[in-house]
């Protein structure tokens, strides 16, 4: 039985999740990273990625994270997210629309423009949402 630790996910609009789990998986600049109980103090910036939590009974829950920050310390993991939603809450039509919109904008802008960077991030968020949704039906 894996040990439990506290996981808290905060967004600007509300505290999204505040409970205990045995494993938290996110993606950082280095690749996927799993956090378990008693992990050393750790801070990392997170890109748009799937975020998975395993609970005491072995069940999983997946959410789609749109960039944020992970803080681990004192047997507690805090994810400070720009936006996040559970896989079952993702609106696929909306994600498709924003993917299309982002691609259109990308095709019009030159790569050294700041707006290009923003459109690129938007595309990544949309693709991440769609990927999370399709893998968790």
């Amino acid at each position: 039985m894996a040990a439990l630790f506290k996981i808290k996910i905060i967004t600007p609009e509300k505290v999204f999740f505040d409970d205990e789990g045995t494993l938290l998986i996110v993606k950082t600049g280095d690749g996927e990273r799993g956090i378990m109980a008693n992990h050393i103090s750790y801070v990392a910036a997170l890109p748009s990625c799937p975020l998975r939590i395993q609970f005491e009974d072995g069940s999983w829950r997946t959410a789609s994270l749109s960039s944020g920050l992970l803080k681990v310390g004192q047997n507690k993991a805090t994810v400070i997210a720009n936006a996040i939603e559970w896989a079952e809450e993702i609106d696929l039509d909306w994600a498709r629309r924003s993917e299309k919109d982002a691609r259109e904008r990308l095709s019009k802008l030159s790569p050294d423009e700041y707006e290009h960077e923003l459109a690129n991030l938007k595309l990544k968020r949309a693709l991440n949402r769609m990927a999370v949704k399709s893998q968790n039906k």
Partner: protein
């Protein structure tokens, strides 16, 4: 004469009554909006606090640490973000913000600043006075959401890094209590964070390094600050409007009772006069 006077008073009572209905309705709408805005402000607090704590930790654990956002640029203008309301009829709410803005612009010099105005009143105010406008956001406060603010903040921090602006300051109204709201100036960039955190024994691993993480947090932190200021200001606007409208409703009540007294007096006078006339008439015929 008396009946004409009565008609006038009656008309005035009616007009005051309909004004009262409007002020009463505005008061109720403002109180329900105030409640919603306060919830929004409270919900945003944990997020903002977590970001702030992380920044303080990184800074205090890494001595002689300087990010891209610590130093003031030599060149460029100061960006003044002025957050006011979208509507009037809120007591001194808008006036207080502009009074503070006027002091600040006078101190910095009109040529050294550029304005980002949030709220219709703010947009009107600075456009009319010919200020250098950075950008305008009328009518966003009520339905404000984080992505919008992130977009604004990204633009600002980008211009700060490239040296187009040398500092960012926000003027907004903070909600103290239902009866008190104070206009306030807050410096956003360059970041000034107190070095008060206790040093922990075990320093955390930063990925890839403290500086990069810090530089990534700053735009989010600024977005959080801005979001907080806009929501705070909106709550203050509603509170100010609520108390202004409450006063207006009370005044209308007083006016109505004064006018009713006048009306009754006039009515009595006219009845007395009629009776006198009738008695006068009948005694003449007898």
């Amino acid at each position: 004469m008396a009946s004409g006077n009565m008609k006038d008073i009656k008309r005035r009572i009616k007009s005051v009554e309909s004004t009262k209905q409007i002020t009463k309705a505005m008061q109720l709408v403002a109180s329900s909006k105030l409640r919603k805005a306060k919830d929004k402000a409270d919900n945003a607090k944990p997020y903002f606090k977590a970001l702030y704590d992380t920044m303080v930790e990184i800074q205090s654990e890494n001595a002689d640490f300087l990010s891209d956002y610590h130093k003031k640029n030599e060149s460029g203008k100061t960006l003044l973000v002025v957050i006011a309301g979208d509507r009037g009829l809120a007591g001194g709410f808008n006036t207080n913000v502009f009074k503070l803005a006027e002091e600040r612009t006078a101190a910095l010099g009109k040529d050294n600043i550029t304005i980002l105005s949030v709220g219709k009143k703010s947009v009107e105010y600075f456009k009319k006075r010919g200020f250098n406008i950075y950008s305008e956001y009328p009518g966003i406060a009520e339905t404000i959401r984080m992505p919008m603010v992130v977009h604004i903040a990204d633009g600002m921090t980008g211009d700060f890094k490239s040296g187009k602006i040398n500092a960012i300051e926000v003027i907004y109204t903070t909600y103290v209590s239902p009866l008190t709201q104070t206009a306030k100036l807050q410096e956003i960039l360059p970041v000034t964070i107190p070095d008060t955190m206790e040093k922990r024994l075990q320093l955390p691993d930063y990925e890839p390094n403290p500086r990069t993480v810090f530089n990534q947090i700053v735009p989010k932190y600024i977005a959080g600050l801005l979001f907080g200021a806009i929501v705070d200001s909106f709550a203050s606007e509603q509170a100010a409007r609520r108390s202004a409208m409450e006063n207006a409703t009370d005044n209308a009540d007083t006016m109505i009772s004064d006018l009713s007294l006048l009306y009754n007096r006039a009515r009595q006078a006219s009845i007395t006069q009629e009776i006198t006339e009738i008695i006068g008439g009948s005694s003449a015929t007898v």
